[in-house]
């Protein structure tokens, strides 16, 4: 139903849009929480953050509750600007979960590094709101706004350590290149708008079907798809748009790195899944491109991770490789692949948040995260070392952890799609990956050269690590608890798209 009618050259707004407020409750409670945290932070003495964390966690739980109560509903509201379905629910819950986990272990790091900036917490929550917006719409206007809300908050988070050149350098690089990529993305949207008059991802295929070959419209659509891919590939850190990733991951405060490694991936791959659904008709065009991006990401990410001496940087390159694995799911263009991505995103969030969380314990030793500095972590903090071992094993994709099943589903998906070469590449690069992950595991358990003191593990961080580890093992033992709803979600979404429903 149109909100605005056109009469005699004048705009006349008439009825207000039908709004399904329930669908917006998770986002609204998230934003309200963020605002509340911002307000409370103003009135707290410097360095006292416990109330912020508590409020944040309550707000996240509330948002999660609202999102869970929307489970299995499928609707669009706000003139098709907002979409709720199982895909968006799953991804939103993953985002909320990753945020909650980050909240749990951040305070220790802030205190140890003397970064007593309360802004961290509202920024984190606003970033999550941005990510939730991204995965809950197919309208690129909304997606773009969500992307900017997420990115702007992340630029600041990356530069949180104000008196540290590396942190600022990473913020500057992230900001300049991120804004650069946003411009590409935006221009892609403009082209789509020009070609179809709509900024909805679902309009891509329709426009492609309606446009005659060789016309300006079809050229604009091609340009649009290419530019959108550039923007999304940048955020997903796919090669060759990955170059910011290692620098930013290494330079940013580890808590910010943990958060962005998980949440940005979830949000961007959420959009990419919608993109694949919306642009399925043009697969002949973008699938070969994504094929190359996936292959290059897997190879370059893993090879460069192999030669790193800094754990944060290594994990950054490995995140490029993981983005490549997930892109394999996009290329395979089938339900197995897309649901495999959903599974992988959840698993990767746990692995990545957990692994960086373990690295935050190094804040006590001058925040040195070189592999050399991590040697013998077991003798300092056995629990952190054990947790890290599980997380790394999962990152390496060794059963019975969730990391294995994630790779397995993507592997099967690419075989089902007949992408044998990509499947082989996935397997081979995973082997390379296992080498550096397991190398780090050995380093953790190697006795240190000198005697070391034991470090205390704060309870919230222990809870976070425990949640990550147990989650991974549980998902590894019973993958179908997640893959079954994921598959259902993808199939339902595909039917809806193919039958032309909003």
């Amino acid at each position: 139903m149109p909100a605005i009618r056109y009469t005699h050259g004048r705009m006349e707004a008439t009825v207000r849009p039908e709004i399904e407020w329930n669908a917006l409750l998770p986002l609204m409670s998230l934003i309200a929480t963020a605002t509340l945290v911002l307000l409370v932070e103003m009135f707290l003495p410097r360095g006292r953050h416990a109330p912020l964390i508590v409020i944040g966690l309550i707000g996240l739980a509330l948002a999660g509750y609202f999102q869970i109560s929307l489970w299995q509903t499928s609707l669009t509201t706000f003139e098709n600007l907002w979409r709720v379905d199982t895909i968006s629910s799953l991804l939103t819950l993953a985002i909320l979960g990753a945020t909650a986990l980050t909240l749990l272990f951040s305070e220790e790091y802030l205190q140890q590094r003397d970064l007593r900036y309360g802004e961290f917490y509202p920024l984190l929550l606003f970033a999550s709101a941005g990510a939730v917006i991204m995965v809950s719409s197919t309208n690129l206007m909304v997606v773009f706004l969500g992307l900017e809300v997420l990115s702007l908050a992340l630029y600041v988070l990356a530069g949180l350590a104000r008196y540290e050149v590396r942190s600022e350098e990473s913020a500057l690089k992230y900001f300049l290149l991120g804004a650069f990529a946003s411009a590409f993305f935006l221009y892609g949207i403009a082209m789509l708008y020009g070609a179809t008059g709509s900024v909805d991802l679902m309009a891509i295929a329709r426009g492609w079907g309606n446009s005659a070959p060789g016309t300006a419209t079809s050229a604009m659509l091609i340009a649009s798809v290419a530019l959108l891919l550039v923007g999304l590939a940048f955020k997903a850190s796919l090669v060759p748009f990955h170059m910011w990733t290692p620098d930013v991951y290494q330079g940013a405060p580890t808590i910010a790195t943990a958060y962005m490694s998980a949440v940005v991936k979830v949000a961007v791959f959420g959009v990419l899944i919608r993109f694949v659904e919306g642009a399925a008709g043009m697969a002949g065009l973008w699938a070969p491109i994504l094929w190359w991006l996936a292959a290059l990401s897997m190879v370059v990410g893993n090879l460069l991770a192999l030669v790193q001496r800094d754990a944060k940087r290594m994990l950054a390159y490995s995140s490029i490789a993981h983005a490549g694995y997930m892109a394999v799911g996009l290329v395979s263009l089938n339900a197995t692949g897309l649901s495999g991505i959903l599974y992988y995103l959840v698993a990767y969030s746990l692995m990545s948040v957990g692994a960086f969380a373990v690295l935050t314990v190094m804040a006590r030793a001058g925040d040195a995260t070189t592999i050399e500095a991590l040697r013998g972590l077991y003798y300092r903090q056995p629990f952190a070392a054990h947790a890290m071992a599980v997380l790394l094993v999962s990152l390496a994709g060794i059963p019975p952890t969730a990391g294995f099943w994630g790779k397995w589903y993507l592997f099967v998906a690419s075989l089902e799609a007949g992408q044998v070469l990509l499947a082989i590449l996935l397997a081979l690069t995973s082997v390379v990956g296992a080498a550096y992950y397991l190398g780090l595991v050995f380093a953790l358990y190697t006795p240190p050269r000198e005697t070391v003191e034991r470090w205390r593990m704060p309870a919230p961080m222990a809870a976070c690590l425990l949640a990550c580890v147990l989650g991974l093992i549980l998902l590894g033992l019973a993958p179908s608890w997640l893959t079954a709803p994921a598959r259902q979600a993808v199939e339902a979404s595909a039917t809806r798209v193919s039958s032309g429903l909003p």
Partner: protein, 143 residues
């Protein structure tokens, strides 16, 4: 048509004449005792000429940043009020509510920057906390 530009041309002419009279008058009539302060184009604020690397108070930037963001956000209100009167009453209430929320968020941002001292020209917090050389490079750094 060309004639449409006549008023503009007239206006420009008058402006030129007035400017010439003022500058010429002071040049002819005024006593000339130059001082460095008087010789600079602006007698207050920052020196416009010189090395671009020169330091100047960072607050220029800060204030500009704060200004631009509020400036642009407030620009959202303009199209809204243009169409507000044309809305039917029940929609108008809803629309006012939406704009209320928007304004509320802006005000929170304003309160935040106020409370954080971003509007103070002398920033006691920042001056106190600025550390000279804060960051020893972590071990194992790449050359």
């Amino acid at each position: 048509m060309v004639y449409d530009y006549v008023p503009i041309a007239l206006l420009m002419g008058i402006a030129l004449v007035i400017a010439a009279v003022m500058v010429g008058g002071s040049w002819l009539l005024g006593p000339r005792r130059p001082t460095p302060a008087k010789q600079s184009p602006y007698e207050c604020g920052m020196t416009p000429v010189g090395s671009a690397r020169e330091r100047f108070p960072i607050h220029f930037y800060l204030t500009a940043m704060l200004f631009i963001i509020f400036d642009v956000e407030v620009a959202f209100l303009y199209p809204f009020f243009v169409v507000l009167r044309e809305l039917p009453p029940e929609t108008r209430a809803f629309a006012l509510g939406v704009v209320g929320v928007f304004t509320f968020l802006l005000v929170i941002g304003f309160v935040y920057e106020w409370k954080k001292g971003a509007l103070e020209w002398e920033d006691p917090v920042e001056h106190r906390r600025l550390k000279p050389e804060p960051q020893p490079a972590p071990a194992g750094e790449q050359p």
